[in-house]
Subunit: 274 residues, 4 copies
């Protein structure tokens, strides 16, 4: 298993500060011993429209120089343009698919194997079924695009934030309905805890479809700082012979966060367990 | 003084849920007796790129039908594209100016007199002076564009979220430096309370430059539910003969919010005071 | 709208104490002005196997004498026999269906129009789909039995306790898949609040399929004692012209409850609103 | 002394989730090094009516395979059928005795030496004396049935949940009044702490009648995670030369529990002390 760190807490999403240039984040994570970086696709790090070809090569150079892989890329839902794949607005759905394709292409350029599908949410007046069908349609479209570039899309249950894909089974069902082989699933220990569920259960349920993992304790704390049972999660991952990334997604909910503390505390804990 | 309600808590920004179509919000606010609606420019309500001319006319029709004015329009910083006017990225600054102009044009179409200038924030590596200059430059550009359409831009101190325009004087200085007559200022009682300052002081300081007011108690509660001294704020506003809007910006920080409770509780409190 | 009170807090479920004989509860609720009583089907109140024909008539007599209707009957899941309709054990499913039919017959004898379908939960190793199908099969069987007796079954989303029927849409879909006209839906304001959702949204979503309502504030407090927006719920119910029961399901989670306080406080609040 | 773990937290009682099949629980507890498993007699684990002869043999096979003894069996009071031995309802008392006999026979088949007598509670309208007599009568009946099968019944004081057998002396008196040699007593450190009593006092008071022990810290935490003085309890048990089981009964009060964390943390603590 490899360890990566998601950049939200170092970025301007969702809170505006603190915010660090991507080079600084790459350098710091590498110096702490991370194998990978999971890049959130918001400005100033990676909003595709703002990245020239020159800039993309420059970032790749930094990554290579610091021997840091991009473990996954993650769009930023909920801001101005929404990028809600299950929006009732056809304009929003169209932009969302375009944006995901931009992210997929960017992932390809940065040699990143995985893009996370945040499946969206049903606003008042949109039925769960409609929202599901919109998300499925967008996911299929993006999956076909991603396949040619060798990218896997992973569906993540996000019950703390949304109301569409809330459980391991929801994610598995949506992935399966695409009938595309490059659509898999992931889970986030934080979201499992939000549901008062047992995170290790997700490992056993998702098993051979599990392609990525977000690690976070309750309240978006580093693992080991809250109530999560990470011994059980790691044991389960070993049992299913998981070879992918453990990607920390912590601390980004509050301006009070010191990103380096979150990153260092997280990797210290995980290295002591692996 | 007129009373309006900001739509964030009814929208997908910054938290994704709850989220209601704009028509529903217009109908509900009007039925509670609001004079105006302050429209947050995020999807699904008002991301300009998603609004066809037909849709824009339809929304205006709803507003007229319910006799509701648009008190102000407010861009949504911090999401994927950032729209931070003081970003170190020239691509982001360019998009931000373009986006503000789109919002200004939309405000014009919806007969709204005011657009709020969220001046931005200085990320790590950007000096306060650089950030100030970037924001000033963007604001001047937008102000000239707005002038022809009869729109006023108002600079808001947002210390709780940012690190650039934090005080009444910061806002007044930035506005003044534009040397554009249609740039004025506003304040938000929540941000004043965040700085442990006296909200009514802002009224006296901003006086004839004061063009818009955000009302919120601490913790984004409706006025009267927290510790804010709104008697003093209203007294000060009467003393300076303020004729603009009191616009509630409450409840949007948490998925747990029941938007109607926030809207009803806020107007009940203010009507009892005015 | 009529007002009833669920007996859990007066019974031995789920906590053992306090516990009052059914006669006492009938007398007390009637004296407080309740229109109806919602009877939880656990001992000592209404475990069908313990109720002789003589006893059933005696209870009906008490109800008539105090002019109290039985608004609904509610099985007690989770105890020794489980009565989980979506259990992986065929023995448990068979007993559950038999037990629901016993409850339906008892409802008929007590002139109660409604029995609540608690759809169950998926234990580790049971997929969501399997659990759904088991629950659907049981519900169809019971619905046919109930139809001849003029009883309506209502599906309730119970996200706080389970993982199968969690949303308004889940309940509507399960009900619809039965293709039986006497299967409708209900919701509980407590469960909506647990999901950080807006309770009045459930009214608009369920609309003409809404056949019963559980009223409870957060933490199973009486309405008005917590954060729930019951003005909005009542307004929505009037708008859809709801004619059914508002049934309090409060206070049963703790031995510390004084049942009469819960019952009196609840009806005082509702009477002041209706 | 041997260590076992009670299955409630892995079962659907009293909260519905999480819930694991009995095989999974047997495997996990054995892998953590437990000597025994205390089986709660609720579905899906061990509601006797649902267990065919084939299934009973299968479970025994699993136990043998993992070298795990059944330390005790524990009925599940408070659910639909109540199984309150001191109920005012003769139907409930009759079913309760029948159910205890079913559990005793099941204990015999699974080579378990001990069944716990939860003595019941006095509902409103039942005097303590009546309740005592009902419980005594049921206990005597069951004790005679158990004697032939070599099973010991143990009376447990449960003050946190009930109002009948609350102290060491209550339990000793009830046991003595049966005049049956296979009726002994036990205590639970959690219930002692609930009464603000010293758990080790129970050891000295019960002494040679002490046949089983429940270990739990306050709030149903694993021992060592709360305020309980387990050094004193273990010292007292050594002094009286206790040879029975220390059986963890923890974490079952909340859906938020991760059962493996409770089991692992508990045995780690006790192994470090023994």
């Amino acid at each position: 298993m490899k360890i990566s760190f998601n950049t939200w807490v170092y970025s301007s999403f969702p809170v505006w500060l603190p915010s660090y240039p991507l080079e600084v984040v790459i350098q710091r994570l590498a110096s702490m011993g991370y194998d990978g970086i999971e890049i959130g696709c918001a400005s100033p790090h990676a909003w595709p429209d703002y990245l020239s070809q020159e800039r993309r090569k420059e970032v790749l150079g930094h990554l290579k120089q610091h021997n840091l892989e991009v473990s996954a890329m993650l769009p930023a839902p909920g801001g101005g343009p929404g990028v809600n794949p299950s929006s009732a607005l056809k304009e929003e759905r169209a932009f969302t698919v375009k944006h995901y394709k931009d992210v997929i292409r960017l992932a390809h350029e940065w040699e990143c194997p995985t893009v996370i599908w945040v499946a969206g949410w049903a606003a008042f007046g949109t039925s769960q079924k409609e929202a599901w069908n919109y998300s499925l349609e967008g996911l299929q479209d993006c999956a076909r695009y991603a396949k040619d570039l060798g990218i896997t899309l992973v569906v993540e249950p996000t019950p703390a934030d949304s109301n569409l894909i809330e459980t391991a089974d929801d994610a598995l069902m949506l992935a399966e309905e695409t009938r595309e082989s490059n659509v898999k699933v992931m889970f986030d220990t934080f979201h499992a805890l939000y549901r008062n569920e047992v995170p290790s259960d997700y490992v056993y349920r998702m098993k051979d479809k599990l392609h990525h993992v977000h690690i976070s304790d309750n309240d978006r704390l580093p693992p080991g700082q809250g109530v999560g049972n990470f011994d059980a999660v790691l044991k389960a991952l070993k049992e299913i012979d998981y070879k992918g990334y453990l990607s920390m997604e912590v601390g980004f909910h509050t301006r009070q966060a010191d990103p380096d503390w979150y990153a260092q505390t997280s990797i210290d804990f995980l290295r002591s367990k692996l």
